[in-house]
Structure formats: structure tokens, C-alpha cells
């Protein structure tokens, strides 16, 4: 077998052994990589893609085109909640619900910064438990772009998708008579030609980077497929293969 076709773990035994040549080989391989650098929920950028979309799942390409995802550079978040406001106004989110939220973690004993903000939203999972659970396909994975959508007229309001979601990303919207959730602003913006989500556009600190994970020229592709900074996902153990990536810097 030619070196190019060898499994990455055979090419790279330890992170410190990565030569520039190896690194270039590694990046060229794209999804032909496995998570050789880390375990747990934090892993290298290249392995982030591989961990979320395991080696044997998508050998040569991402399943959607565009494959929408969001990279959240979590240490940049100042908790201003402008993203939440933008989401509410663009998507008519009622006062009792939310599509995206900023969580706050306090670490009183930490040196320096004592607070951390963690934006959360629907993870547009590749293997969404909500979609599996819905009895009438009122929620479904869009075949083109991978966004987990709602077909409101079908929703029976059984709320099993709310129980199934590992990310608490759903609520019952009285006004719509259906479950409501983040659709990456597909209905209000993307389907009308706008390229970015409302929350990402409103963020003054460029925390939320939205884009196409299948496009090597896209920012999200570059952020996820870099080696220097760790990238992770939330609740990896739920096995839903989320498309919201977290990183610092």
C-alpha cells in the first residue's frame, strides 16, 4: 500500500512526531483521518471531523452540499446576547422559547477571567435523535444541506423530539402549533439568498462562524481542518454527530 493510502495512525504515531511533510499529507487526506491525537470530547481539529463523522462513514466527501455547520470560538464570547436578540427578531421567537442561548459558567477560583460564556443552539446533528423519534417526519434532515428542519403542518405535538434532543434545542411554539427550533435561519435568510445566520451576523466578537464544511475555501472548513487549536463538540457521547464545533481562539 502506498504511503498516501495508509491509515493515518500508521503514518503518525505521536503528535510530537509530525513533520511538515506528514502534516501536509495529513491535511491532503481530508476525511481520510482518524482521531490520533486525543480522546474524550476534546480532540485535534482534523480528528474533530473524523470523530464526528467517523472514518468509515464518509470516506471521500461530506454528505451534504453545502454541509452547513457553525464553529463557536467560545473564549471570544462576551455574553452580550446580541445573537439571541437577533435570533428572536429574525425568527419570531416567543418570549417563552429560545432557539439559541448563551450559557454562563462561573469559576470563582480561576486565575484571571472568572466567567465563561457558552453559546448553544441546535447542533443540526448528522444522526439526529429527534428525527428518528418523530412519528410523522414532521422534523427531518434536509437532503441537500443537512439542516434539521420542521414541517409545522405535520407536527402532532407529542414532544418526543424534545425528550430525544441531547441539546435541549427544541420547544413547543404555541403560535406555530408545532415544535420550533434553530434552522440556521434557513427559512428567514438562507433560502432568500442571505449567506449568514442572524446570530452570526449580529455577534460583535466574531464568535459564531457559519459556513460550509464541505468547501475547502470556507472559513469553517479551515477552522475545523487545522491542527494547532483543539476543536470539540458538546455531548459527543450521545452519538448524534453534531455540526456545531467549539474551539478557543
Amino acid at each position: 500500500m502506498a504511503p498516501k493510502e495508509q491509515a493515518p495512525h500508521k503514518l503518525l504515531k505521536k503528535p510530537e512526531n509530525i513533520s511538515e511533510l506528514d502534516r501536509r499529507e495529513f491535511l491532503k487526506m481530508g476525511l481520510w483521518v482518524t482521531g490520533v491525537f486525543a480522546g474524550g470530547s476534546i480532540f485535534s481539529a482534523v480528528s474533530a471531523a473524523a470523530e464526528v463523522f467517523p472514518l468509515d462513514t464518509y470516506r471521500t466527501k461530506y454528505p451534504y452540499k453545502p454541509h452547513y455547520c457553525m464553529v463557536i470560538r467560545v473564549d471570544r464570547c462576551i455574553g452580550c446576547q446580541l445573537c439571541m436578540d437577533a435570533c428572536v427578531s429574525v425568527n419570531d421567537v416567543p418570549s417563552y422559547g429560545w432557539r439559541t442561548k448563551i450559557l454562563e459558567r462561573q469559576a470563582k477560583k480561576a486565575i484571571g477571567q472568572k466567567r465563561e460564556f457558552i453559546p448553544v443552539l441546535c447542533n443540526q446533528c448528522n444522526d439526529p435523535p429527534c428525527v428518528r423519534a418523530c412519528p410523522v417526519t414532521a422534523t427531518y434532515k434536509d437532503r441537500k444541506n443537512g439542516i434539521v428542519m420542521m414541517d409545522n403542518k405535520k407536527c402532532i405535538g407529542c414532544k418526543i423530539c424534545m425528550a430525544a434532543c441531547p441539546y435541549d434545542a427544541r420547544y413547543y411554539c404555541e403560535e406555530k402549533g408545532a415544535i420550533d427550533k434553530c434552522d440556521f435561519c434557513f427559512e428567514t435568510r438562507l433560502s432568500r439568498g442571505v449567506k449568514n445566520t442572524a446570530c452570526s451576523e449580529a455577534c460583535p466578537a466574531d464568535v459564531r462562524v457559519f459556513g460550509d464544511l464541505s468547501d475547502p475555501d470556507d472559513r469553517v472548513y479551515k477552522l475545523v481542518h487545522q491542527l494547532q487549536k483543539p476543536v470539540w463538540v458538546l455531548k459527543k457521547e450521545a452519538g448524534a454527530k453534531p455540526n456545531i464545533f467549539y474551539m478557543k481562539g
Binding site: 448553544v120 412519528p135 405535538g157 427544541r170
Partner: protein, 399 residues
């Protein structure tokens, strides 16, 4: 049967109405009470979903979306499948001592499944869409879709089985009953799967619930047979015959056996929780010493398992009165078992591990009066339909 066949439908209805009206003051009082409960429950449910909005009327929330009404639905359909299974022991598998209770068990199975449908119908936000999109837009990977289909088949088969039993067509009723029990077991284990296949919920996830539901169904079915058969004889103001006494003793012994199985399953469930992940150990603490401790130790363990087990074992099912008390306790406490199971799966916040302040406390749930009345509506439907059934079908052909 000959005399029955010679009567017209109108004559049948007239004689049924006469039997109901001549049931005596106690019977009629209970019938009215159950009817009122049913109507009140339906009114509360309609008001909750279509007027006030379930967000205001029910105690469910974004964090705890499934609660008392889902638990009640599970309670009723588990009883229903259990009744179907217990009835099959006699009239399908030929165990003589279970044959006298078969007709009543099948009728009660139909009645309790209808109560389950009523309660879930008043829980769903858009139940009418279900009737359309269950067929037009099915999701074969969804447990709820399968639940809808399997229970629909089961209820139809149970009705056919009951009609055939009343017409004394035993061979045909056996076929319908066998199919009914296959669909029933598939449905009840699939109901467990509704919860067990949510891998984001550690307490529910795994193969435990589908198995537990089947064992629990047989327990509930046998308890329900004892409970309702005794009441049926009070309604008829006739003592239990020898055959029925023997039958109830056999059913009581089955209840005792299944109670032992349920107790062991519960013990091992609790033991395995102690070595589970974060969520599971938190649920364990909630059961042992937290929010569910009273329900667990008083209703589930003491009144729902230990006391009825002692009653059933000591009497070996020979005391109808004590079996009746044990059955009543088993049925009443199973409601709390279902409620605790449903709510406990949702008490640990989804982002608990992040240590963020928004998800720093366990989720809570407390039922509203609207929910309680909907539950009572389901009880009222079962109670009223049972009391009517005893008179309309004239004691279900018992000698």
C-alpha cells in the same frame, strides 16, 4: 344463546338499559360518578389544549416535556396488554383455571386501552394530525409510529376477539386473541422502546424498559382481573362461584409470581444505577433520598410491592378479600411507578456536565389540576365502561 339470537337489536338494547337502570342505587351512583369524572376530565383536557394552552394548563415544560399524562397513558396500555395476556392463558393456551376470567379480561383490555387513547389524545397538541400523517408521512424508525400502528391493530383485534367470545365462537376468537396478544406484546415492548431508545437520556436508555414493561403488564393484568372480577360480583350482588374462586386464586398466584419478578427487576435496576454515569447516579439519589423518595419508598416499594406480596404469599391467593386489597394496591401504586419512571428520566438537565448556572439545578415537575382531572377522566372512562359492560353484557355470560 338461543333466546338471545331470537331477539332484535332494539330488544337487546332495551333489555340492557333495563338491566343498567335496575342496577340499584349504589351501582347507579358509582356509574354516575365515573361518568362525571370522564366528562369532567375530557372538558379539562379540551380546555387545556385548545383554549388555555398546554403551556399554561399542564405542568410540563421544555425541560420536562413528558410527564403525568404520558405516564397515565403507559399505565392504561400496560394494564390493557396485561389483561390481554392473562386472558390468553385460559382461552388460547387452554389452562382451565384461567378460562372463567377470559371474557371480562378481554372486555377490560378494550376499555383500558381506550382510556389510554383518551388520555394521550388530550395530551397531544394536535391529535387530529396524527390520524392523517400516521399514514401519509410515516417514520418507520420512530417508536411512537410503531406504537400507534401496533395499538390500533391490537384494539381492533381485541374487539373482534370479544365479539367472537360473546358469540361463543371459540376457535375464531382464539385466532383473533393470538394475533391480539402478538400485537399487544410488540406494542408494550415498543412502548418501552419509546423511552429506551433515547440515548441522550441515560436513565431510560437500554433494553431494561421493554422487558420491564412486559413483566409489569402481566402483573397489572392479573391484578386488574382480580380487582374487577370482585367488583363485578358486588355489582351483580352474587357470591363468587367455586370455579371463579379457583380462577381468582390462580390469577392471584400469577400476580404474586410477577410481583416477585418486578421486585427483582427493580432491585437490579437500582443496584446498577449506583454504578452508572453521572445522570444515573443522580437519578438513583433522587429515588433513594431525593424528590422521588416518598413516592419510591411508600408507594412503589412498600404499598406497591412488599405489602401486596406478603398478602398474596401468605394467603396463596385463597383469600379473595386479601387478594382484592393486594390487587388494589398494585394497581394504585403502579400509577406512581409509571409517573416516577417518566419524570425521573428528565430531571437531570441536558447541559449538567458543563457546570453552567442555567442548568445547575435538577429539573422539577409538579402536576397541575388540569392534568389530574385528565387522569381522572381516563379512570372515569374505564370505571363507567366497566360498570356499563357488566350490565349490558349481563355479567359476561357467567353462570
Amino acid at each position: 344463546m338461543e333466546s338471545l339470537e331470537n331477539l332484535s337489536l332494539t330488544d337487546h338494547l332495551k333489555s340492557a338499559a333495563v338491566r343498567v337502570l335496575s342496577g340499584g342505587p349504589v351501582y347507579l351512583t358509582f356509574l354516575c360518578l365515573m361518568g362525571i369524572l370522564f366528562i369532567t376530565g375530557v372538558a379539562f383536557g379540551i380546555h387545556s389544549v385548545y383554549i388555555e394552552g398546554s403551556r399554561h394548563a399542564y405542568g410540563t415544560s421544555r425541560e420536562v416535556p413528558l410527564a403525568m399524562l404520558i405516564a397515565t397513558y403507559a399505565f392504561f396500555v400496560i394494564i390493557s396488554t396485561g389483561l390481554c395476556m392473562v386472558s390468553s392463558i385460559g382461552h388460547i393456551f387452554g389452562v382451565a383455571s384461567f378460562q372463567p376470567i377470559a371474557k371480562r379480561a378481554v372486555l377490560l383490555s378494550v376499555i383500558t386501552i381506550c382510556s389510554g387513547f383518551l388520555v394521550i389524545g388530550l395530551e397531544l397538541e394536535n391529535p387530529f394530525r396524527l390520524a392523517i400523517y400516521l399514514f401519509l408521512s410515516p417514520n418507520f424508525t420512530s417508536n411512537i409510529w410503531w406504537m400507534g400502528v401496533l395499538y390500533s391493530f391490537e384494539v381492533v383485534l381485541l374487539i373482534i376477539e370479544f365479539i367472537l367470545l360473546m358469540l361463543d365462537r371459540h376457535r375464531a376468537s382464539t385466532v383473533a386473541g393470538l394475533l391480539g396478544i402478538i400485537f399487544g406484546i410488540a406494542a408494550i415492548s415498543n412502548l418501552g422502546g419509546v423511552f429506551a431508545m433515547l440515548n441522550g437520556r441515560e436513565f431510560w436508555y437500554g433494553s431494561y424498559l421493554p422487558i420491564f414493561f412486559i413483566a409489569s403488564a402481566v402483573l397489572m393484568g392479573s391484578a386488574a382481573v382480580v380487582f374487577f372480577t370482585v367488583i363485578a360480583h358486588w355489582v351483580r350482588r352474587e357470591p363468587l362461584g367455586e370455579a371463579m374462586r379457583d380462577s381468582l386464586a390462580a390469577v392471584s398466584r400469577l400476580a404474586g409470581l410477577m410481583l416477585a419478578v418486578v421486585m427483582f427487576l427493580t432491585i437490579w435496576r437500582m443496584v446498577t444505577l449506583t454504578v452508572g454515569g453521572t445522570h444515573e447516579s443522580m437519578v438513583y439519589k433522587a429515588f433513594v433520598s431525593g424528590a422521588f423518595a416518598f413516592n419510591f419508598w411508600v408507594f412503589e416499594v412498600s404499598l406497591g410491592m412488599i405489602i401486596p406480596f406478603i398478602l398474596l404469599v401468605l394467603t396463596r391467593g385463597r383469600s379473595v378479600g386479601l387478594s382484592f386489597v393486594a390487587a388494589l394496591l398494585i394497581i394504585f401504586c403502579a400509577f406512581f411507578m409509571r409517573l416516577d419512571m417518566v419524570v425521573a428520566g428528565q430531571i437531570v438537565p441536558m447541559y449538567w456536565e458543563l457546570g453552567v448556572k442555567e442548568y445547575a439545578r435538577l429539573n422539577t415537575y409538579f402536576p397541575t389540576w388540569h392534568e389530574i382531572f385528565v387522569v381522572l377522566g381516563g379512570v372515569g372512562l374505564s370505571g363507567a365502561a366497566f360498570l356499563l359492560g357488566e350490565k349490558v353484557f349481563d355479567g359476561l355470560g357467567e353462570a
